[in-house]
């Protein structure tokens, strides 16, 4: 069992080892959905939900797999869990808010291939987190993902009005801003003990 305190896990996954800016997970949606604040925000909230639910399910499944001595099935079961959670969220949003469903469009099913989701499940297994630690880790890292996404979308909304050389427009510029953000986030290192 891992002896790290819950508060530290939260701060660590939210700011110090931010999933997007320092562990490089979830870059594709980070580049893809960050051009408008409203979409970025909604995407972030659905990702938080998917990550927390799939982390809880993955924790349960992992104990079951260990009891059955079938650890080699881990990757396969995790991906199935994530795909079904995403499907569930999709049906839920479609039923409760069709407008949001249309706004998220193709990005909703693509959460399945968001590496942040599988990343949380794999990291919590690799680090031997307890149940409470896993949930806090899932909350912290998914909120960290949303934080990075929202910051980036605010910057990109501003950029729309500025004059950028043609060559740098698009992904290259987003990556350079992300690099700068990543440098800024390094300032959090050492926080929380």
């Amino acid at each position: 069992m891992n002896e790290v305190s819950l508060g530290f896990i939260f701060i660590d996954s939210l700011l110090i080892n931010n999933f997007v800016l320092s562990v490089f997970l979830g870059i594709c949606p980070f580049i893809g959905v960050s051009n408008k604040l409203s979409t970025a925000w909604r995407m972030g909230v659905s990702v938080i939900f998917v990550i927390v639910v799939s982390s809880v399910l993955a924790y349960g499944t992992n104990s079951l797999l260990i009891a059955m001595h079938a650890e080699y099935l881990r990757i396969i079961t995790y991906i199935v869990i994530i795909a079904s959670t995403v499907q569930l969220v999709e049906m839920f949003i479609k039923k409760t808010s069709p407008a949001l469903f249309r706004a998220l469009g193709i990005y909703l099913p693509l959460i399945t291939t968001n590496c942040a989701v599988l990343g949380v499940a794999l990291f919590q297994t690799a680090r031997n987190y307890s149940f409470a630690q896993s949930v806090v880790f899932a909350l912290g890292s998914s909120m960290g993902f949303t934080l990075a996404l929202v910051i980036m979308s605010i910057i990109r909304e501003r950029l729309e009005l500025s004059d950028i050389p043609n060559l740098a427009k698009g992904t290259a510029l987003v990556l350079m801003i992300a690099g700068t953000l990543s440098l800024a986030f390094m300032g959090f290192a050492g926080m929380g003990g």
Partner: protein, 214 residues
């Protein structure tokens, strides 16, 4: 490339399936897919090579198997089937790397398992292997895999040379070199990929300008 007539494919088409991924449709520099592993593990050339080989293996074999079963799989469940096939090969790679070198296994960590969600692999399954004969799908897998490998190597070597002054662990500049540590840090990954994308964009623009002149 949508037609499907097995053995009667001309050699030039085979060649095209292979070269497409290598340069014209390079998965990282042109399509900007699979960026997460591209930046996460390219802080040294050795890690980049290991990751490139692992992805190449998964890409070739999953393309092959998906192309073999493409007539048996119902359209509605195809994505789920693809993911299961890919996950199986990734599990194999995970255990192979663990058996071959425990150092590399520790350095890559969970990023080996994360090959499952590398968009390049599912992208090729959906766009190519699900519609084309086996042999072409294998070639396509090789092309894309080697394209990805080259991209990883470009990033990994630049970051290791600038960030540590070494390549594959060999010192390049002697003892007076001041390493530019920024490039080994996460932000260095973002900056290096951005610079490569700029180089490619410039290359394309130059080609277009030449065509316009001629």
């Amino acid at each position: 490339m949508g037609h499907d007539h097995g053995a009667t494919v001309s050699p030039s088409e085979n060649m095209e399936a292979f070269l497409n991924g290598l340069w014209k449709q390079n998965p990282v520099f042109v399509q900007v897919l699979g960026t997460c592993p591209t930046m996460a593990i390219t802080n040294s050339a050795r890690n980049a090579v290991a990751m490139g080989l692992a992805t190449l293996f998964v890409l070739v074999f999953s393309n092959m198997l998906i192309s073999m079963v493409r007539r048996l799989v119902q359209k509605q469940v195809r994505i789920a089937t693809y993911i299961l096939i890919i996950a199986t090969f990734v599990t194999m790679v995970d255990y192979i790397i663990k058996a071959v070198s425990i150092d590399v296994y520790k350095a890559l960590g969970p990023f080996i398992a994360l090959i499952v969600v590398n968009c390049i692999i599912l992208g090729r399954a959906e766009a190519f292997a699900g519609k084309n004969p086996v042999w072409q799908s294998i070639l396509d897998g090789f092309g894309m895999g080697i394209g990805f490998f080259i991209a990883l190597f470009c990033l990994g070597s630049v970051r290791e040379i600038l960030g540590a002054g070494t390549l594959f662990g060999f010192s390049l500049f002697g003892s007076n070199f001041q390493p530019w540590v920024l490039f080994l840090l996460p932000s260095g990954g973002f900056f290096t990929l951005a610079s490569w994308l700029l180089v490619f964009a410039w290359w394309k623009e130059r080609g277009k300008a030449k065509e316009a002149q001629a």
